[in-house]
Structure formats: C-alpha cells, structure tokens
Symmetry: C2
Subunit: 202 residues, 2 copies
C-alpha cells in the first residue's frame, strides 16, 4: 500500500480490520498502526471520528465488491449466470484459503455489531450493499437474466454467498461455497433467456 496516500491507507486498513474483528473490536489505535499512518492523521483526515472512518471503509468495500463482480463477469466470459456466480465464489474461496479464514465480509461483520445500536452506520451498510447488489444485477442481465428478475436473483446470490462465507469460516472448509454454486446454478441458468431472445427481453 506504499503508493497510497495516508488517508487511503487508513480507509483500507479499517476495512481489513473490520473484516477480522468487527467494528467494536477495531480500535482507532489498531487502524493507525495497521495503516502505518502518522499520529494525529486520524483527527486530521477524519474529524468526525471512528464512525466516519468506518463509513468510508464500508462504502469502499461495497464499491470493491461491485468492481469485483464486473471482473468476474469478464472472467466468466458472459457465458451464463452460473459461470458468473462461480467466478465470484472462486475469488472468495481463494481469499478464505489464502487468509486462513480469519477475514469475512466487512459488511456482515459490521452489521453484526452495529445494527442494534447505530442507525447511521446501519444505513451506511445498506448503501454499501447496494453498491454491490446493483452491479451484480446488471451483470446478471449481461448473462441473459431478464432485467425484471435480475434484482431478485442478485439478492438471492448475495444471501446464499454471505451465508456460505459464514459457514465456511466457522468450519474452516470451503465446501459451503461450492455447495451454493452447485445448488443454485440450475435455478440461475433456467432463469436466463437464450442468447437469441436477450435483446427482446431487455
């Protein structure tokens, strides 16, 4: 992260720490240390304190998930919804294995901590999820899902993926991720119209 500004490093460090320890478990000092940021820079860049850093970190991660979806679509070569889903899941599996399952989805980690107590952050998490869900719905349309069904199937994919990440982390086993791809692929591919009809459907 050497080429990033201190501000960017702080946001990225906060996001990674939240993935591991949640919002409550991530202290300002941990963020400064992890970002290798100058003392006093938190106050300088984030005058509104921890909630401001956490908000930016969560929105950054929502956008990152959206961009990742776009890359998965390119990798899946727009063949089918199931190929897109498999490509998204493959990236998650790679990360879980590389990191030894210590880090999950930052939006889920934050939700577990703050939904009950912090309505501003809850709304930020909702916006962060939208930044993932909207590009995912658009990507599903690219694979042949009619636009009218794409939002609903994007939510289904996100719920199953989030649940599978949680189970995989708990069990130290990626098989729940393979399982949701295997089980949902026929459902997703049946929902896709054949290529010849896609133009009409959109």
């Amino acid at each position: 992260m050497a080429s990033l500004s201190p501000r960017e490093r702080i946001v990225r460090s906060a996001a990674q720490l939240i993935r591991r320890h949640g919002v409550t478990g991530t202290g300002m000092r941990d963020i400064v240390a992890d970002a290798d940021a100058p003392r006093g820079s938190l106050q300088h860049y984030f005058p509104d304190g921890k909630d401001q850093i956490v908000s930016e970190a969560l929105l950054f991660m929502g956008e990152a998930a959206g961009r990742r979806t776009q890359r998965a679509l390119e990798k899946a070569n727009k063949r089918s919804p199931s190929a897109l889903f498999a490509a998204i899941v493959a990236k998650w599996k790679e990360e879980l294995l590389d990191e030894g399952y210590v880090a999950g989805c930052p939006l889920v980690a934050a939700a577990a901590d703050v939904v009950a107590t912090n309505s501003e952050l809850r709304e930020v998490i909702a916006r962060a999820f939208d930044k993932w869900q909207d590009p995912l719905a658009a990507a599903l349309v690219e694979t042949g899902i009619p636009r009218r069904r794409s939002e609903e199937l994007a939510v289904l994919v996100i719920t199953a993926l989030e649940g599978a990440i949680i189970l995989a982390r708990i069990r130290h086993d990626t098989s729940p991720l393979d399982l949701v791809v295997r089980q949902l692929s026929p459902l997703l591919d049946v929902a896709a119209s054949p290529p010849a009809l896609r133009r009409l459907d959109r």
Copy 2:
C-alpha cells in the same frame, strides 16, 4: 424467565445479548444485570469465565433452532419442503418485526467476532450449527427429500436464511426473507420425491 434457575437465566441472557451486540460487545456485567442474577453467581456457575458462558449460550441457541425446526415441521404438516421452509422463515420474520430488527442469529453474531481470534469458540459455533443443521436435514426427509440430498439442501436453506436475516436487519425490511422462500421453494419441492415413493427412497 422467573421460573428459571439463575444459571439458566444467565445462559439465556447471554444468548440474547450476543444476538444484539456480538460477543465482544457483551460484557459480564451486562449479562449479570440482564439475568437479574446475584453478584458472584457468574464465578460460581461459570468458573471458566466468559468463554464458558458464551459457549453454553451458543449451544443452547443451536439446540433451540433445532427444536424450532421440529415445531415448524409440525406446523407445516409435513406437506412439502417449501412449506417447512416458509414456516421456519415465518417465525424469524415475526421475531425481527417484534424486536425491531435489533437482534439477529447469535451464531452469526458470534462468528463475526471470534472466528479470527478464538479457535475454541469457533469450534463451539460449528457444533451449535450442527445442532440446527442435523434436525433440519431430518425434517427435510420428513417432507419427502431423499436422505442423500437432505444434508446439502439443509446447508442451502441455512445459508440463504442467514444471509436474508442479515439483509433484513440492515434494511429494516423483511422482504429478503420472503424472497429466499419464493426463489428456493420450487428447487426444494422438485427435490422431494412424491409421497408414494418416499418409503423406497428412505
């Protein structure tokens, strides 16, 4: 909870607090206060400290989810896997609405906090999930799912339900729960063999 022993009240209070605030966000003092337990009773009943209380609370909640599955099966009258799933989800919707979305699944809340840092508690969460997954797989068999597919579909139901609970809490909206039932019902019902064949399949 007046008829429960102090020990039982402590376990239940810990579970409910974890649902709202996670493990890190739940202090020993909060548990004593919520359980209305005598000072010093924590040390008396739980000499191994907070992890012991948390472990018992999580296993208790896993068992409760298993019993709840059994009640949902009775309510669904063994008609179909989708009726079972809908009955399980209906209970969750009721709770989310009654509680104003402040409390989610304690196993997910605990996972978000401890997977990265506490391997003993991680294994407890895995066991607690089994106490839900095994009765759910058995209940799916009762609705006509072949035994060989029941475990896999139980995992699918759990992942989608957990993901939907998270989205519902973040959005203050139960529609993700309705959505997963709507989307997964055909898949579940197609997997069920017709009643006449159930005996052969089992």
